[in-house]
Amino acid sequence: MDEVLQDVLLNIDHGIIILNQNLHIIVWNKYMQRIMGISSENAVNCNVYQVLPNLNKNYFRAAIESAFTNGCKMFFSDAMHRDLISEKEHFNLKLSRIDIDKSKYILFEFISVTNEYMRVHLLRSNMNQLCLLNKGLKDKQKEIKKIAYYDELTGVANRTLFYELAEKLLFDAKRNHYLLGLMFIDVNQFKNINDTYGHEIGDILLTKVAEVLKNSTRNNDVVARYGGDEFLVLLPHMQNFENYKVIASKIANAPNRFIRFGGHEIEISLSIGFSFYPHNGKMIHQLIDAADKAMYTAKKAQKVCHCAFCESVDNKRIHQEQ
């Protein structure tokens, strides 16, 4: 039976070393011979630290001593003790005491975790690829959302996003009883500019208008391109009607209201109409209609920037202002 057990120990698929109390190797199995390239003849009866110098560290020495004294079983992971016995392969080490008769021995078991490392490496690389793929998908989603909700030329909200936000802001205004303003903006002489200087300049002009509107309104305000040369701006939480004058003035005096090209300079000229919830309507289309009418009234005045205030708001009269 002893021979059988010894044969098992020598041929088992783990690295097995047994030390006596003098720290001399008494068993060095075939697996150890293979991974270390040291024959049994050259290992047996040698001091363990001579054969495995990487083990000659304080904590290993303490662990071996503690195992001899207290029978402590110890575990050393390859992750925390790299290249313990091999640079190419990975091994965890288990250390335990064996008591035979009155003698004590220390059993070293080197268990290969090389395959685990390969699997983890593969898993990490797959996960990183998945992460990249996921990020790519999210970016695409953002792009699709942008295409669906934002005007390609000017980068401001398109009609779809405008209506979605308008419904929400109107609902909020109804619930919290606040004033919701709406601006209808039309570019004066846009057709003439297009015909005279070309569509490219027309496009630059529209982009500039969007920029002027964005810069002249608050962060929470919604600037949208309604179509062609028409823009809409939603102004939630307005404190009072008179505040529209501040916005109109900011637009009229925007420092970047000029476009210059080939010796030409065009000053952006806009007609703007205002309407307000609840005074000009309780539905978005009613507010758009009211602001549109006010904008036409302003356009008739033929000024650089006009604001027309709807009659129902301003004591039954149309108020125009530069």
Binding site: N58, D78, R119
Partner: protein, 211 residues
């Protein structure tokens, strides 16, 4: 069981020395400075399942928990558990392996390699604590290598309640590794006989001290 202040002090001191040794060993292995807060212990007796463990476990032990457990027998019978929240354990592992926290993708996904690291940390800390008790109270203990398990906090409470052991010694421990604080706990689950045995040996020390 009534445990007087003196016995508490002795136990505290033994656990303190054990955790200190563990910190020093770990510090040498990972080549980093490790400081530790002196552990405070509590002894809880479970009578008729009245004990609500939740009242005693530190609040930091919430969500997913990594538990490294060693079973022991002979003079004392029971189980010692080292518990860290998964998030703190991730930081602990990264500090041990000199890894940074910047790779979010594998942040909370523990691999076999991570489990081996937890097993080694558990082995060092629990061995040092139990070793100290065994040596100073002259109580021979035979214990296993740690098993690592992942628990949800609620499942862990249930697991502890299911255990046949009737007494629990709780140690609140905090490691500070390179300035990063890692808070956890050690729960030593003991049978009532084992606690009695432990107290008997503490009595001997107390008697010796009092002359």
């Amino acid at each position: 069981m009534c445990v007087n202040d003196f016995k508490y002090d002795i136990l505290n001191e033994l656990f303190n020395v054990g955790v200190g040794k563990a910190a020093s060993l770990l510090s040498e292995i990972i080549s980093k400075t490790i400081l530790l807060n002196i552990p405070q212990i509590k002894i809880l007796n479970r009578k008729d399942h009245e004990l609500n463990l939740e009242d005693y476990l530190p609040k930091v032990l919430d969500g997913t928990l990594m538990v490294s457990s060693i079973s022991f027998k002979e003079r004392l019978t029971g189980k010692a558990n080292l518990i860290f929240p998964a998030k703190e354990m991730r930081t602990f592992i990264n500090l041990c392996l000199n890894k940074t926290d910047d790779n979010i993708s594998d942040d909370m996904n523990f691999t076999d390699i991570d489990f081996d690291v937890i097993k080694e940390i558990g082995n060092i800390i629990l061995n040092c604590i139990l070793g100290e008790i065994g040596n100073h109270l002259d109580m021979k203990l035979d214990y296993t290598l740690p098993e690592v398990q992942v628990f949800d906090r609620i499942d862990f409470d249930k697991d502890i309640k299911r255990d046949e052991c009737k007494s629990i010694i709780i140690l609140y421990i905090t490691f500070v590794i390179d300035g990063t604080e890692i808070r956890g706990a050690v729960l030593v689950d003991l049978t009532l006989n084992s606690l009695n045995e432990l107290m008997k040996n503490l009595n001997l020390i107390e008697d010796e001290f009092n002359g």
